[in-house]
Amino acid sequence: MTIRIAFKLFASLSDYLPDGHRGNRLELEVDEGTTVAEMIRRYNVPERSAHLVLVNGHFVPPSERARKRLAEGDELAIWPPIAGG
C-alpha cells in the first residue's frame, strides 16, 4: 500500500529535492508507514540541517522523527536553521 504526501524543502535544503518539483514542493507516493526520519535519510538531507521539521504545520521534535509515521495527504516541510524578523 502506498500513500500520497507532499514533500517540501526550503532555503538551502531545496537542492535536495528530487526532479519534478514545483517550487519547493513535490508530491510523492511513499509506502504506508514511512516515517519522517526515513524521508530525511532517503533524500540525503543532512540530519543537522533538518532543523525545523513540520508535518501539516506542526513541529516534530528530533526525538519523535523516527516514530512519526506519515499519513495520506500529509505535508512534510523541512527548513535548515533560519530566522528573520
Binding site: G23, H58, E75, P81, A83, G84, G85
Partner: protein, 615 residues
C-alpha cells in the same frame, strides 16, 4: 568607557546648538541608546504632551558599542513621544549614521522646540550648526541625501532625513538613513517634520576612543563574532536568505496574517518569499535579489539588495527605480503583500521603494491598506472615495495608494493617518489590526500565542521587536516552545522584552540574539564601559528600561485596557492550519504577566517593583 560623555542639545526654536556633559549616573543605570535616551526624554517632557507640538522632544542616540568593533555595532535609536500611538516611540536603525555620530564625538542629539522655517543640522566633529533647508523641503529622502552630499562636496557624510511624508506628518512616517535603512515605526518622522527639521548630516573623523580595557574588548568582540560565524542562522541562513526566509515558514504554521487578518495562510506566500527572490524571472532571466548587504560593523549581513523588473507596470516608465536598491525584507513583503492579498513580488518591491524614498513605515502603511481594502470589500469605501477599485489582491491599487500616501494626495491623506483613525472614521474601529494605534507586524497571534501577549504589552504599540517570542515558539531559539499554548508565555515574553532592551541599549542589532545570549553581550559591554557590568546588572537594566517606558505610558494615560488585541484575534478563530479553531488566549496570559512583572492588576508597577528598580 564606551560613551563619548557628550550630548548635543539643539533648540530649534532658538536656533542654538549646545554641548552638554552626558549624565553618567543615568548611563550607569540605563546603559545607552534606547534606555538612556528614554531616561532623558521622560525626564524632560510632560507625558501628556501633544506628540506633534513643539513641546515634544526627539532624541537620536547611540549606545556604548555603537561605532566600535563589536559586530553589528552600527545601531542608533530615535526616541520621542509617538504620534501614531501617543505612547513612547523608540525606533532603531542600522546603516552607518549611528557610527558616524559616535565618530564625531557625540553620544546623542536632543532636539527640542520647532524651527520657524525648514532647517537641517550639520555636524562635523565638534562643530554643529543649523542650515537653511528651504531648497530641500519637498524633496524625497533620496534627493535630500544627494543634495546635501553635493552641497558639502563630501560623499562620505552620513545622513538621516525625512521625505515628503514626514513633512506632511503621515503618522507612520519614518526617518531614513543611508538610503534604505530606517528608524521605522511609530511615526518618528512625523515628529521630525513637525519640528521643521528636514535632515541631520554627520561627518565624524575621530574614531572611537576610551574603551575601558582594549585587550579584553578585542578578545570579547572576536569571541562573539566567532559565535555569530559558527551559528547556522547568523553565519549562513540570514546572509543567504535574509529575513524573508520566514514567509513560507510562518505560512506553513498558519500564522501569516492575510487580508487584514481575515485569514492566517496566504495562497501566494511562495511567490513573495525569499526562495522566490532567488528564482530567475521569466521576463529578463534575472533574479530579483542582487546581493546581500551589511550595516556598519555587521558580520551577519542580512540586508537585501534587489533589482525590480524594468518591464513591470509600476516602473516601466520610471527609470529612476531600475537600479539595485534595498528590500524586500520579511516585514515589508508581508505588510505590502499577504496583508493585502497581493502576490506580485515586483509590485511589493515598488511599494517598498516608495516607502524608502519618501520615508514611510511599510508595516503600518501596508496594514492600513489592508484595512482600507476590507472597508472597500464591505462597501463602506467606494471607488469614488478611494479614486479606484481597491479589492484585496489588487497590485494596481497598492501601487497607486503608496504614491498617493507618500505625496499626500487625495485618499492618501486618509491612509496617512493609519488604520485606527481610518477605521474609526468609517465606523468600523474593530477592523483596525493594531494595538495602541500601531499596526501589527507579520505574525498572527492565533497561531503564535505568545506574540499576542508581546503585542498587547509592547510599550510602543504592536511590534515584534520588543519581545520576539517567535524565536522560541517557531524557530526553536534558544529552546523550542509550543506556539499553540499560552502556558509559560508570560515568563517567556518578559524574558524577551527585558533582554531586547539591553541589546537595543548597547547599540547592537537584536538579530545577534539568534546566536548570542546576554552572556555573549556582557563581556563586550564590561570591557568597553567603566563600572560593573555583570549579568545581574544587565538583566536589571533591561527590566528597569521596560518599567520606565511603561510608567511613561501610564502617565500618558494608558491603562490595562489598552493592553488589548482587536476582537478578530480573540473572538474569531483561525480558519485553517495548525491553529484552526483557536483564538488568542490573551485573557489567560495577561494577569499572569502583570504578576510576573511585579505590577498591580491594573497594569502599573507596584511600589515595591519601582523601589527594587530604582524608579
Amino acid at each position: 568607557m564606551g560613551w563619548n560623555r557628550k550630548v548635543l542639545r539643539v533648540n530649534l526654536t532658538a536656533g542654538t546648538c549646545t554641548e552638554e556633559a552626558l549624565n553618567m549616573q543615568w548611563a550607569d543605570e540605563y546603559l545607552g541608546s534606547r534606555g538612556l535616551a528614554t531616561k532623558y526624554l521622560v525626564s524632560e517632557i510632560d507625558p501628556r504632551v501633544d506628540p506633534l507640538s513643539p513641546d515634544n522632544k526627539m532624541i537620536m542616540a547611540t549606545g556604548p558599542l555603537t561605532g566600535t568593533m563589536a559586530s553589528t555595532g552600527g545601531r542608533y535609536t530615535v526616541v520621542t513621544k509617538g504620534p501614531l500611538t501617543g505612547a513612547i516611540a523608540c525606533s532603531n536603525s542600522g546603516g552607518f549614521f549611528g557610527a558616524e555620530m559616535k565618530f564625531a564625538g557625540w553620544d546623542m542629539v536632543i532636539f527640542e522646540g520647532k524651527s520657524a522655517k525648514p532647517v537641517w543640522l550639520y555636524i562635523e566633529n565638534d562643530k554643529a550648526e543649523l542650515r537653511d533647508a528651504s531648497g530641500l523641503w519637498g524633496r524625497s529622502c533620496w534627493e535630500t541625501e544627494e543634495k546635501i552630499k553635493e552641497q558639502l562636496q563630501d560623499p562620505l557624510v552620513r545622513i538621516s532625513s525625512i521625505g515628503v511624508s514626514g513633512e506632511n506628518q503621515v503618522l507612520y512616517s519614518c526617518i531614513v538613513n543611508d538610503l534604505h535603512r530606517a528608524a521605522g515605526r511609530s511615526g518618528v518622522g512625523a515628529v521630525m517634520g513637525s519640528k521643521n527639521l528636514k535632515a541631520v548630516a554627520i561627518r565624524g573623523t575621530k574614531g572611537v576612543s576610551g574603551i575601558k580595557d582594549f585587550g579584553a574588548f578585542l578578545k570579547a568582540t572576536n569571541d562573539a563574532k566567532k559565535v555569530l560565524a559558527d551559528n547556522a542562522v547568523t553565519g549562513q541562513g540570514l546572509p543567504k536568505y535574509g529575513t524573508q526566509v520566514l514567509m513560507n515558514v510562518i505560512n506553513e504554521i498558519g500564522a501569516l496574517p492575510t487580508r487584514n487578518h481575515r485569514d492566517v495562510q496566504f495562497e501566494d506566500a511562495s511567490k513573495i518569499s525569499a526562495e522566490a527572490m532567488h528564482e530567475k524571472r521569466a521576463s529578463d532571466g534575472k533574479t530579483h535579489l542582487v546581493t546581500n548587504a551589511a550595516c556598519f560593523g555587521c558580520t551577519i549581513a542580512c540586508g537585501r539588495i534587489s533589482e525590480i523588473d524594468k518591464t513591470h507596470f509600476t516602473v516601466k516608465n520610471s527609470p529612476k527605480y531600475w537600479g539595485a536598491s534595498g528590500g524586500l525584507e520579511y516585514e515589508a513583503a508581508w505588510a505590502l503583500g499577504a496583508a493585502n492579498g497581493v502576490g506580485d513580488l515586483e509590485a511589493l518591491q515598488y511599494a517598498n521603494l516608495i516607502c524608502n524614498e519618501q520615508g514611510m513605515d511599510p508595516i503600518s502603511f501596508g496594514a492600513t491598506v489592508g484595512a482600507a481594502m476590507e472597508l472597500y470589500e464591505l462597501g463602506i469605501l467606494t471607488d469614488e472615495k478611494i479614486g479606484m477599485a481597491a479589492p484585496f489582491g489588487s497590485a494596481e491599487a497598492l501601487a497607486k495608494m503608496v504614491e498617493m500616501t507618500a505625496l499626500g494626495e487625495g485618499f492618501g491623506k486618509e491612509l496617512g493617518l493609519g488604520s485606527k483613525r481610518l477605521c474609526e472614521k468609517y465606523g468600523r474601529p474593530e477592523l483596525s489590526m493594531s494595538v495602541k494605534g500601531q499596526e501589527f507586524p507579520a505574525y498572527d497571534s492565533r497561531g503564535i500565542q505568545g506574540m499576542g501577549l508581546a503585542y498587547a504589552t509592547s510599550n510602543r504599540g504592536a511590534c515584534h521587536l520588543r519581545g520576539y517570542t517567535v524565536a522560541s515558539e517557531v524557530l526553536g531559539i534558544p529552546v523550542k516552545t509550543d506556539p499553540l499554548t499560552t502556558e509559560g508565555k508570560p515568563e517567556l515574553v518578559k524574558a524577551f522584552q527585558d533582554a531586547t532592551a539591553v541589546f537595543d541599549s548597547a547599540g547592537i542589532c537584536v538579530f545577534t540574539s539568534f546566536a548570542w545570549t546576554l552572556a555573549d553581550v556582557q563581556p563586550q559591554v564590561a570591557a568597553a564601559c567603566e563600572g560593573d557590568w555583570s549579568m545581574e546588572k544587565l538583566n536589571e537594566v533591561g527590566e528597569r528600561i521596560w518599567n520606565m517606558e511603561r510608567m511613561f505610558n501610564n502617565a500618558a494615560g494608558f491603562t490595562a485596557k489598552d493592553d488589548n488585541l482587536p476582537p478578530r484575534l480573540t473572538q474569531e478563530p483561525a480558519k485553517t492550519g495548525p491553529a484552526k479553531g483557536l483564538v488568542n488566549g490573551l485573557a489567560k496570559m495577561l494577569p499572569e504577566y502583570y504578576q510576573v512583572r511585579g505590577w498591580t492588576p491594573g497594569g502599573e508597577p507596584t511600589a515595591e517593583t519601582r523601589a527594587r528598580l530604582g524608579l
